[in-house]
């Protein structure tokens, strides 16, 4: 189990992580979601004792990471797949890690086999593709058979087959009762691979819940096509809805359910040709939740990209 309490990290005047509080439970895949630069990696580095928090603390199974006697046996982490000495072979990299935590060397061959990189185990890591490096990083994380696993943006650089493999892999780790904490800036990825989601933006906690919870709390909209859109618009506005004319006969209504829209139209004697509830996608929910937390520069960049 992972726990973060009042965690704050400041770099000079910039606050990268701002009073974060959350718990990551075992047995499920927990997604850690936020736009790029929202403090996900910093939080993970603090959990691993690599960066010192300015305030607050992060604990693993109730202990500070630095106090773990044999950390690789309790926590496995993949932060940056390319962060391996390029001149060392994959096997030697894993051997040194295993030795440092008194893990049997036979385990090195097991994790190489499991991640499918046995054939390149004696090659220097410098020549590895990103996908192969990711597999090596996963092999290193699994080395100590830890109960807690952290992955920072693990699907980056993986091909579709690799992505499917890693999703199933996270599920199987969680099914074994482990704590699986996976960061991503892609809502769509989290929607399919995580059970629980923690959303942060600009270093601040935004929300936490299951994928279903998050989409339910989001506002959906209703598409409605009618004989007299101008009149319907007026009536709906008087009921407190927000209405946008999509085209001549079509309106997009938010703030009311499709049932309510139907009743109001009937009461006003209007004929409806179409009435379609639109469920907000998780992607939209995410954009909605983090919109306020995005930097101005970030938004400008997004605008420029369009």
């Amino acid at each position: 189990m992972l726990k973060v309490e009042h965690l704050t990290k400041q770099y000079g005047s910039t606050t990268a992580v701002d009073d974060l509080n959350f718990e990551v439970k075992s047995g499920v895949v927990t997604g850690f979601l936020g736009p790029n630069g929202s403090g996900k990696s910093t939080t993970m580095r603090i959990i691993l004792g690599l960066d010192h928090p300015s305030k607050g603390r992060a604990t693993v199974n109730g202990q500070n990471y630095a106090d773990l006697k044999s950390p690789l046996r309790e926590v496995g982490a993949l932060l940056d797949a390319k962060a391996v000495h390029p001149g060392r072979t994959a096997r030697n990299h894993l051997r040194s890690l295993a030795t440092s935590n008194q893990i049997k060397l036979s385990r090195v061959d097991e994790v190489l086999e499991f991640t499918g990189i046995t054939s390149v185990a004696n090659k220097r890591v410098g020549g590895f593709s990103l996908g192969m490096s990711q597999r090596l990083g996963i092999a290193a994380a699994l080395l100590g058979d830890p109960a807690v696993l952290l992955f920072d943006e693990p699907v980056n650089g993986l091909d579709p087959e690799g992505i499917r493999w890693i999703r199933e892999f996270f599920r199987s780790l969680a099914a074994e009762g482990r704590t699986v904490f996976v960061s991503s800036h892609l809502m769509s990825e989290m929607a399919v691979s995580a059970d629980q989601i923690i959303v942060i933006g600009r270093g601040k906690f935004i929300t936490q819940g299951s994928v279903d919870d998050l989409t339910k709390t989001a506002q959906g909209s209703v598409l409605v096509r009618t004989s007299d859109p101008t009149l319907l618009q007026q009536v709906l506005l008087s009921h407190g809805a927000q209405v946008q004319a999509t085209n001549e006969s079509m309106l997009t209504v938010s703030g009311l359910s499709s049932d309510e829209v139907g009743k109001i139209a009937f009461a006003s004697g209007l004929t409806l040709y179409e009435l379609t509830p639109q469920r907000a996608s998780l992607e939209e929910v995410f954009m909605d939740l983090t919109a306020d937390s995005l930097d101005f520069a970030h938004r400008q960049q997004a605008a420029a990209d369009e």
Binding site: R45, L48, G49, L50, D51, H52, Y65, A66, D67, L68, K69, S70, P71, L72, R73, V75, A77, L79, D80, K82, A83, V84, H85, P86, G87, R88, T89, N92, R95, S96, L97, T99, S100, N101, Q102, A140
Partner: protein, 260 residues
């Protein structure tokens, strides 16, 4: 479940140390420079010895002359020390390392143990070979020295100690600066540029301070009889060791305080 110990960290660092090419290459270059240049220097001295003026012949020291290659090898061995830690920062693997060994003092000590043990063995082998080779080249033409003399034996051993200390000095700079290029330029500046700067200073300052330069201390360590205006070998060794301890202390403190 057994806890991590200093010995497991030392073993892991040994695997990391000898499984990269830069270490192997550094050791090879150290050998080539110490022995190869040592032989070249002794050959040159042998062939020009008869032209040497009588005063220089009196002060001629076959020991430090035959160990002349160490003044070049010191750069190679310094780089081994630098890269042992800076390659962790340049590749980013320091994070993996510290996640496996969160006790940073233990990590620093483990690396130090590996570095001192391996570089001491390598350096001593190199200096003894170059000494014996040099004396056999001198033999018959130039006066030679023998290891049966206590002061000669001490000088040869201290030449290896000097190289080992420079490897630790490089490592300490690496802990402080974390960047290979910056470390190597600082290392080279201290050993090469400092004497030049000293040379530009007034004569009286030179006399008082130049003996404190690391390279002058090295020269003092590998001379059986102290030259004028230089420390004895024991004092020189202690001064150099204290330099290294200061840099190492700063480096280890920074490693513990800074974010990785």
């Amino acid at each position: 479940m057994s806890d991590n110990t200093l010995s497991s960290t030392v073993k892991a660092e040994w695997i990391k140390f000898h499984t990269v090419r830069s270490t192997i290459l550094g050791v090879a270059v150290t050998f080539v420079l110490t022995i190869g240049l040592g032989a070249l220097i002794t050959w040159t001295v042998r062939s020009h010895y008869h032209e040497m003026n009588p005063l220089r012949k009196i002060t001629f020291d076959p020991v430090s002359t035959s160990l002349g290659g160490t003044l070049f090898a010191q750069f190679a061995i310094g780089v081994i020390g630098v890269l042992f830690i800076t390659s962790e920062y340049s590749s980013g693997s320091i994070r993996t390392t510290l996640a496996a060994v969160p006790n940073r003092l233990r990590l620093a000590v483990s690396k130090l143990i590996i570095l001192i043990a391996s570089m001491f063995v390598i350096s001593e082998i190199a200096v003894f070979i170059t000494f014996l080779l040099g004396q056999s080249i001198f033999s018959g033409v130039v006066p030679t020295a023998s290891l049966s003399s206590g002061s000669v034996l001490r000088s040869v051993i201290l030449a290896g100690v000097y190289l080992t200390l420079l490897a630790v000095f490089g490592y300490s700079l690496g802990l402080i600066l974390r960047q290979s290029a910056a470390c190597i330029s600082v290392f080279t500046s201290i050993l090469l540029i400092l004497p030049i700067v000293m040379f530009l200073l007034p004569q009286s300052w030179q006399t008082s301070y130049s003996k404190y330069e690391p390279s002058a201390l090295g020269q003092a360590m590998m001379s059986p009889t102290p030259a004028s205006n230089s420390f004895g070998s024991a004092t020189a060794s202690l001064i150099l060791i204290s330099y290294v301890i200061v840099f190492l202390g700063v480096g280890v403190t920074l490693l513990q305080r800074r974010d990785a």
